[in-house]
Structure formats: C-alpha cells, structure tokens
C-alpha cells in the first residue's frame, strides 16, 4: 500500500486537525521544523510569521485573499524574458531598495548601490571604448567618460562596465516588440588606467510600465510612475564587489519622488551641455574590495 508506507514516513509529524486562527501559525511553523538548511528554515519561519500577521492584522477577507491570488497570478503572467513584473512590484513597494540598503555596508567613499530594476537582460553586446552604445536609439548625443578605481585610489585596469538606459521616448530596447537588436545597452572594458569612454544618448525621465498589474496598483494608490533620468551601470573588477547602481541626472524633477525609491545624492551627476548642443557626463566608480 503506497499510501500507508508514505504515512509511516510522517509518523513524527505535527497534528494539524481543528486548527483555528490562533493555532495555525504554530502548526505551520512546526511543519517547517524538519527543514535541513538552517537559513531556509529561518527565512520560511519569518515569512510565515509575517504573512500570517499581515492576514491577522488586517482581518483579511476571503474576497481580498482571492483578489491577492489573482493579482499575483497576473504579475506572474506579465513576466517574460524581457519584462520582470515581480521586480517592478518589489521596486514600487520599496522592498528592492530596502534590500540594497541593508546589504550596503561598504566603507565611506565607495560608490553607493541602488536597485537593479526590471530591464536588465543578459547577453548585451560588447563595444570597444569610444563606441556608440546607443546603436540607433533615439535621443540627444552624449559622451560618457570616467574611471573605475579601488577605494585606495588604485585604477582597476580592465574593469567591466555594463550600461543600459531608456531612450528619448522613455523606453528600453526590450520594450519595443519589433526591435531585433540591442539599443542603448552594452558592455565595455576599461583600459589599463581604469578609464572608460563611450557615446550614448542623454538620459530622460520616464514612467515605469503601467500597462500591467503594477500599473493598476499605482493608479489605485494614486502614485505616479515616474523615475528620474538615469543610466544603469553594473561594474565588475577582479578582487572587488560587483557594483549595481545608477547615475542620476542633476535637475530632474523626479529626484525627490522616484517611483522606486532609488535616488542617492552621491549618485546624482551633471550632464553638461556644450555650445554645439552635445552633452558630456563624467563619473568615477569606486569599488569595494571583496571580503578576503
């Protein structure tokens, strides 16, 4: 009897008959007691406690529970290889930035991190230094220059910089269904002095996508969807912690109301406009050494 044999294996399990709203949390926690990996046990225990506390504090109704199920299902169905609606949800609820902030225990002087965002994709094209990563994206031309260094001032030769940004229409390349190549997205390697330089377009403010369930949530809570203009960077160098951050544009009207709570003053920089109408941006990235 397959069933009886299986039942035998749960002989030391927990009794779960006749649970009520006061006893169910302890029963679920008891059910997690055999989790072999201590960190997973800790995470699941805390998750169950907080999830149940949310339901209890709000006296969640069955209709609201069903609404939540349907909402999460819609978020899941919006996710695709080029759209990460769960990251967007985490971003607008401040969970992403909280997680970044908690893990931001770098020494003063290192470039600060901010949210990863939902528009990173693997496999960005590689460019030579000086190349135009815009690759046809609409926008005003801009030259971005800078250096990657260690906290002690040592240049990080050959550091890898990945950059991605929205175009003048406020859209990332992956948001255009009919676009078959990367635009305003690329990977470069710094030179022997840790210096880099590339051409791209000027960053502009844009609304996060509002055509999915996260957009519905923003409308229902009367929140605006705008993010201040920024370039995304992921900077990696041997022996150092990989940095995921943005450079934000000074003067942007959304710097103090970023829909995803990601702005740090140290990441705000000047996009300098020149008499010929072109722009330059200079920025230096300071990476923290990896733990020994």
């Amino acid at each position: 009897m397959q069933v009886i044999a299986a039942a035998g294996r749960i002989a030391d399990s927990f009794p779960v008959r006749n649970l009520n709203q006061d006893t169910i949390t302890q029963a679920v926690l008891a059910g997690l007691a055999q989790t072999p990996e201590p960190r997973l046990h800790q995470l699941m225990t805390s998750l169950v406690q907080h999830l149940h506390a949310f339901a209890r504090d709000t006296r969640l109704t069955e209709e609201e529970w069903k609404f939540g199920i349907d909402f999460l299902t819609a978020v899941g169905h919006q996710c695709s290889p080029t759209r990460q609606e769960f990251i967007l949800l985490s971003d607008v609820l401040g969970l992403s930035m909280l997680t970044v902030a908690m893990n931001q225990d770098k020494p003063a002087g290192c470039t600060e991190s901010t949210v990863f965002g939902p528009f990173h994709v693997e496999g960005a094209p590689r460019f030579e230094l000086g190349a135009d990563v815009a690759n046809g994206a609409a926008g005003e031309p801009c030259l971005v220059r800078g250096r990657v260094r260690s906290l002690d001032g040592q240049p990080l030769a050959g550091a890898q910089l990945e950059v991605w940004q929205a175009d003048a229409q406020g859209k990332y390349d992956v948001q255009y269904e009919d676009l078959d190549h990367a635009q305003a997205r690329g990977i470069l390697l710094a030179d022997a002095q840790g210096c880099f330089e590339f051409r791209t377009i000027v960053a502009e403010p844009y609304p996060i996508p509002t055509d999915g369930p996260v957009g519905e949530l923003l409308r229902a809570t009367h929140r605006h969807p705008w993010r201040p203009a920024h370039l995304h960077f992921r900077v990696a160098a041997a022996g150092h912690e990989t940095l995921v951050t943005h450079v934000f544009r000074e003067g942007d009207p959304y710097l103090d109301s970023d829909a995803v709570f990601g702005v740090r003053q140290s990441l705000v920089a000047d996009w300098v406009r020149h008499p010929d109408g072109s722009f330059t941006l200079d920025y230096e990235f300071v990476l923290n050494r990896s733990p020994a």
Copy 2:
C-alpha cells in the same frame, strides 16, 4: 513639456532621496497616503510594513531577494486555467486556512468551511439527482446522500451543490492533459425537501502537485505533499451564506498531517462499505443565514 506637467502633479508628494534601511518604510507608507479607498490603504500599509519587517528581521540578502523573485515568477508561470499554483502556495503556507478560519464566525451547528483548493474550475456539468458524476473517473463506486438545511432545521429546497474530487489515481480531471470532458465534478440541485443523492467514486488520499515550484518548496523543507481523502463541496441556497468545504474520510492516515492544514473534525465522515463492495456516504450540510 509633458514631463514638467506631470511633475507638477506630484508637488505634494514625499521626499525620497537618500533613503536608508531605517527610513525607507516610512517613505513608502507616505507614498501610499493618497490612496482614495480606505480599505486598500489599510491593506497596503500593513503589507508594506510586514514585507519590510520580514526583510529586516532576516537581513535578506540580494541573492535571496533574487531567488524569491525567480520563485514567484515560476509560481506565476505554472498558473493556467486548470492549475492555480499561487493558491497551492497559499495553502501550504497555511494562509488559505488562516483566512478561512478568521472569516468563520458562524453560529455553532453550522457546517464548518475549509480551503477552496486549486482545482475548482468554473463551468462544471449539471446532473440530475441520482446521476453518476464520476462520468468515467476511475475508482470504487460510492453513493453520496444527504440534505441541505438551515440552522433552524428548515430544509433548503433547491439548494445548489457543486462537488469535485480526485480519482483513484489521486488526480483531478483537469490534471489529465488529454481528457476533454469533466470527470468526478458536477453541479446538482437538492429536491423540495433539501435532499440530494448522487453516484461517484470513493475519495482517496493524494499528493498535491509536486512538479512545480510549490513541490520544490515542500521537498526543500522536508514536508510531505499528502492530503487526506475528501470530497469538495460548494453549497449555495437563497438567503444563506455560500459554504465552501470538504467532507473528509474517517480513518485516513493523513487526517492529522494534511499538507494544507484544512481538516476539521466536524467534517470527517464515514464512507460505509457494504457487503457487495459498494460504499455509501451520508452527510448533512447546515448553512448560515446571510446577514440581514
């Protein structure tokens, strides 16, 4: 300038620059302050507080955050018109039963509720009283008989009963990809005395689906996936609260370790075996009056 106009509309918004792990929760809550619907405001405020408290209590790492994003995305992608993985997740975390229990404030004597489960589908076929709802599903034959009444003893003539159950293989019809019709699932109307009778198959214990992310979670936490044998019922009658419940089978080895925490002693009944090998189940449903 579209951007400037939009910025004007958020003039009374909240300052969100340079948030850290200690200030971000208040900033997110301030951002929800304009939510027009008071109940949504209450739910979102509590959700953000508990979500952030979970991240803070566990000092969630960025890798764990990403794992959570990927897990929820996989749960969403597993959801289809015939598979509700988010309900399954809510069930195994005890959230479903907690929600049912909190909203279970019926007078003593009414039939208790339990979880809805992930296998209900709309549009079940209708049957005459006495018909065989198994409709070809494998299992030992069983006659189910009973009555639907009000708490004061009044029969609820014409009450609608929807029943659904797994077959002898432990599978619901919707779990068979090549099955083109409903099995062991149907809708019946009680007669003028509130009585009903139908043929079906005997309920057997079964594991919840373990081929998706919820199955991974159960394996990682060393929990078994079994549910004790049961019939699902949804019973509706004019002037009364609709009842969503199960009838569980006495003697089942999983009554005290239901993977979704749904067993209540008052819902456990005898499947009586007769000398000819057939089974009968008798059960009475007592519905609560709707609030006046």
